[in-house]
């Protein structure tokens, strides 16, 4: 039995649909979690900028996670 080489999932296959919604979840969660942490730290330490740092850092982490998870090599 000849084994087929693995191919990237076509849009009508579930793996890519799962991926799409998962990516959306990551992109929401990153800024939410780290922006929230930044906001709490701001309240505790009395600073203003940490929420921004959290939002941007969280977004960066999300994008990194998406790129690592759904790497196509």
């Amino acid at each position: 039995m000849v084994e087929e080489a693995p191919r990237p999932a076509a849009p009508d296959e579930p793996a890519s649909e799962i991926a799409a919604w998962t990516v959306l979840s990551y992109l929401i969660t990153g800024p939410l979690l780290y922006g929230g942490l930044g906001y709490l730290l701001d309240r505790w330490l009395g600073t203003q900028f940490l929420v921004g740092v959290g939002l941007v850092g969280g977004m960066a982490l999300s994008v990194y996670l998406v790129s690592v998870r759904y790497r196509t090599r």
Binding site: E17, Y26, T29, G30, L33, L61, L65, V68, R69, R71
Partner: protein, 262 residues
């Protein structure tokens, strides 16, 4: 001249959140609201419909049977079988079919004349449905991988070094917060906003046509009614779409919990 252009906007009460609180019996947190009654009614209607259709099934289907088979086929094949996989999808078809038909009928109540209230615009209902799905997909994941394996599987592969410390909470929050909350909120938000929009156009149109002075206002009222009609058509599309998306995501989360590659 001023009679044509006079604007009287006082007296118009714009629709807001309080329009959605409609207790029929009693008051306070244990009141029987219009949403409760409609939801119960939807259950009765669905049960009656399915029992009536399946009582006399024929090989060559009549119209109602054909319609029912189409709806069932949509959920069973393109949602359950194609997403969860042909091996274990049958177990979940009752849940997914129930979710789809329940949400669809309750959404359609928002535009059908005797009812005209989408029950999913009261946050409790989407939350209740979401909780069912939430418990289901976590239970499935834990049963497949064990508690330790389930949480260990959330460690993303390919992430190096200390970044794992930052990525893992993100992954955890996705599973336990973002997914369920967006599932419920998406349905609630769409139904709430859609109903509010329709209320605004219809009551605004009525106010402009009936109670305002000036010919221009009457024209604006007619335009408002036209917009109400257009938005009703759009709202029907959104209602179907939201029911489909809720069921789709439920099937995807179940499929993800049953997947091997974690």
């Amino acid at each position: 001249m001023s009679a044509l252009l006079a604007v009287r906007a006082d007296g118009f009460v714009a629709p807001d959140v309080s329009n959605f609180w409609q207790p029929i019996f009693g008051d306070g947190p244990w009141a029987i609201t219009r949403a409760c009654i409609l939801f119960t009614l939807s259950g009765v209607v669905i049960a009656w419909w399915l029992l009536a259709v399946t009582r006399k099934l024929t090989v060559v289907p009549g119209r109602l049977q054909y319609f029912t088979e189409s709806v069932y086929g949509l959920v069973r094949n393109s949602l359950a079988r194609d997403l969860i996989g042909s091996r274990d999808f049958l177990r979940f078809v009752p849940l997914l079919f129930t979710l789809f038909v329940l949400i669809l009928l309750n959404n359609f109540f928002g535009v059908v004349p005797p009812f005209l209230f989408p029950t999913m615009s009261r946050i409790g209902f989407p939350v209740a449905l979401m909780l069912v799905v939430f418990v289901t997909y976590h239970y499935l994941g834990i049963r497949k991988h064990g508690v330790g394996g389930y949480f260990k599987g959330m460690l993303p592969s390919g992430v190096t070094g200390p970044l794992v410390l930052f990525i893992y909470p993100l992954e955890l929050l996705t599973y336990f917060f973002t997914r369920p909350v967006t599932l419920a909120l998406r349905l609630f938000g769409n139904m709430f906003a859609g109903h509010l929009l329709l209320l605004l156009f219809i009551t605004g149109g009525e106010f402009l046509v009936v109670e305002s002075q000036g010919f221009l206002m009457k024209i604006a009222g007619a335009f408002s009614y036209l917009m109400a009609f257009v938005m009703t058509m759009f709202e029907i599309l959104v209602q179907f779409l939201q029911a489909y998306i809720f069921t789709l995501l439920s099937a995807l989360y179940i499929a993800g919990a049953l997947a091997d590659e974690h």
